[in-house]
């Protein structure tokens, strides 16, 4: 006969040792199986999309900005025809379907910072983000905290990221709420005059391309250091 009271106490104090499948995993598997059995897409298409999703990241975006800093013609191209400039750093926005990733559309714009204008991007409605060239958005970018506040109190929020801008600089918040995807082209910092493209690319962090940080010699990491670990992270 099960000792009910004992189980109850146990339940409260000790985490179960059984490695249970989560409700999210059950739902994802059930839906994917049904879709494939109904012929809505093929397992091969799903594999291609998964591989696409696994290889995206901020590297090509950093490369694009580094090259623009060094080559005025390439910079002009990046601002005039960002799709062509993306291709030069290995990103074809029409991949992997022939018409792009459906959620990211095909309208990309690079916002150039100047001595008098600093840009920062947000999607106050969801999490619109230039995924093909910058990878997945960080968790904080998707939270109501960031989305609610950056549009209304940009300077205090930027200060929380450690970024305080002088009064003479206009802070321009770009809310990407429709089909356009935006990325910031920050200014090249002083002290990098003799640097190579590889050296420059290292300090062009994801955060500096969102606009919550500025590239600085010696800084190659993003600002938030705490990461919530996954229950079952992505495996190769």
């Amino acid at each position: 006969m099960p000792d009910h009271d004992h189980d109850h106490d146990h339940d409260r104090t000790v985490k179960p040792m059984v490695d249970e499948i989560t409700d999210f995993e059950v739902l994802e598997i059930a839906l994917r199986e049904l879709c494939i059995e109904k012929g809505l897409f093929t397992a091969e298409q799903h594999r291609i999309m998964t591989e696409y999703g696994e290889q995206i990241g901020p590297t090509p975006a950093a490369r694009l900005v580094a090259r623009a800093w060094l080559d005025p013609e390439f910079k002009a191209l990046a601002l005039r025809d960002p799709m062509a400039a993306s291709k030069e750093v290995g990103v074809d926005w029409l991949d992997p379907t022939g018409f792009g990733t459906p959620s990211d559309f095909y309208a990309f714009k690079i916002l150039e910072d100047t001595p008098t204008v600093h840009h920062v991007i947000v999607c106050a409605l969801c999490s619109c983000y230039p995924r093909p060239i910058l990878g997945n958005s960080p968790e904080w970018y998707r939270t109501p905290n960031y989305r609610r506040r950056i549009v209304r109190w940009p300077r205090p929020v930027l200060a929380e990221f450690g970024l305080e801008l002088p009064e003479g600089v206009e802070v321009r918040v770009q809310d990407s709420n429709q089909k356009h995807r935006f990325m910031v082209m920050p200014m090249r910092p002083a002290g990098t005059e003799t640097w190579t493209e590889d050296q420059l690319a290292e300090i062009i962090t994801r955060d500096s391309l969102i606009g919550v940080a500025l590239p600085r010699p010696g800084v190659t990491t993003n600002i938030a250091t705490k990461a919530v670990p996954a229950v079952r992270p992505i495996t190769e």
């Binding site: 490695d19 999210f24 995993e25 059950v26 739902l27 994802e28 598997i29 059930a30 839906l31 994917r32 199986e33 049904l34 879709c35 494939i36 059995e37 109904k38 012929g39 809505l40 093929t42 397992a43 298409q45 799903h46 998964t50 999703g53 379907t97 022939g98 018409f99 459906p102 959620s103 559309f105 095909y106 309208a107 106050a124 409605l125 969801c126 960080p138 968790e139 904080w140 109501p144 960031y146 989305r147 506040r149 929380e160 206009e170 802070v171 321009r172 918040v173 770009q174 809310d175 709420n177 429709q178 993003n222 938030a224 705490k226 990461a227 919530v228 670990p229 996954a230 992270p233 992505i234």
Partner: protein, 279 residues
């Protein structure tokens, strides 16, 4: 097996979820609902911009395997012409309602939208979904024991008779919204024009944020032609594309009693139907 005590526990948990304004009783009569409260309840819950929020830490998160799988699932359904992203954005961000919107993880809402869409478009039945959920639960009953959760479709179905949209064909080689270029006629506004955002009684879906409605701004860019999201979200393929504009607003015009830096600005993208000329 579920006992009476288990049921009691579940019911007690659900009873604690609050979904209404505290100043209005649950299940109100029509006479006590003001227009302000009516529109507050009807507001699209994805429209979070400028709502009040205390500062909170900015965290990174490691991605779950099922989150990547969910992303791929949603995208591959777009690839196959089962939906366009504007349908997903409504179903997973608005149709879920506020408790799920704020109460469950980001990608779980993407997943929710897949199930809802497949049912509403008659690709699957409720019975098929429920049976498959139970089957997958049974497959892993007693724990994973070192296994990774994995999809095991019984066969690959013949999709030749599946209803698919035109978008996934027309967009090939061009992308969306480039595919709509040349279809909207002349743009009504030009860069530098002063415009006012209309304050439309937008029910069910919109992507024009409440924080700019009624505000004056300046056209910063004539963007592209596309069906408005308010049409596209219902899977309508007969809607006429219109011009979209990036509109720049001075912070001092957006926020009452603004005392911050006076040259700070905000830009957002708005379809033509929402704009009117302003002086």
């Amino acid at each position: 097996m579920t006992t009476a005590a288990d049921r009691e526990k579940r019911l007690a948990l659900v009873s604690r979820l609050k979904a209404t304004y505290p100043e209005i009783p649950e299940w109100p009569t029509p006479d006590i609902i003001t227009s302000d409260h009516y529109w507050a309840y009807l507001k699209n819950n994805h429209d979070q911009g400028a709502q009040l929020n205390p500062p909170e830490p900015f965290l990174e998160k490691e991605e779950e395997q099922w989150e990547l799988m969910t992303y791929a699932l949603c995208e591959v359904l777009g690839w196959g012409g089962i939906w366009v992203s504007e349908e997903r954005r409504r179903i997973c961000n608005v149709d879920v309602g506020l408790p799920i919107y704020l109460g469950l993880p980001y990608y779980s809402r993407w997943l929710w939208s897949v199930g809802k869409m497949l049912l509403e478009k008659n690709h699957i039945t409720w019975t098929e979904l429920t049976d498959r959920l139970a089957e997958v639960q049974d497959r892993y009953a007693g724990g994973l024991n070192g296994r990774r959760p994995a999809a095991q479709p019984k066969f690959e179905g013949d999709g030749s008779a599946v209803h698919r949209n035109r978008n996934h064909i027309d967009a090939v080689g061009k992308g969306d919204p480039v595919m709509y270029a040349g279809q909207a006629g002349p743009a009504q506004f030009a860069v530098g024009d002063r415009v006012r955002v209309r304050d439309l009684p937008a029910m069910f879906y919109t992507r024009t944020p409440e924080y700019v409605r009624g505000a004056n701004g300046v056209i910063a860019e004539v963007s592209y032609e596309s069906p408005a999201p308010e049409d596209e979200t219902w899977g309508r393929e007969d809607s006429t594309p219109e011009w979209f504009y990036i509109v720049r607003f001075a912070h001092s015009d957006l926020w009452d009693g603004y005392a911050g830096h006076h040259n700070d600005a905000l830009q957002t993208e708005i379809p033509e139907r929402w704009l009117q000329a302003a002086r």
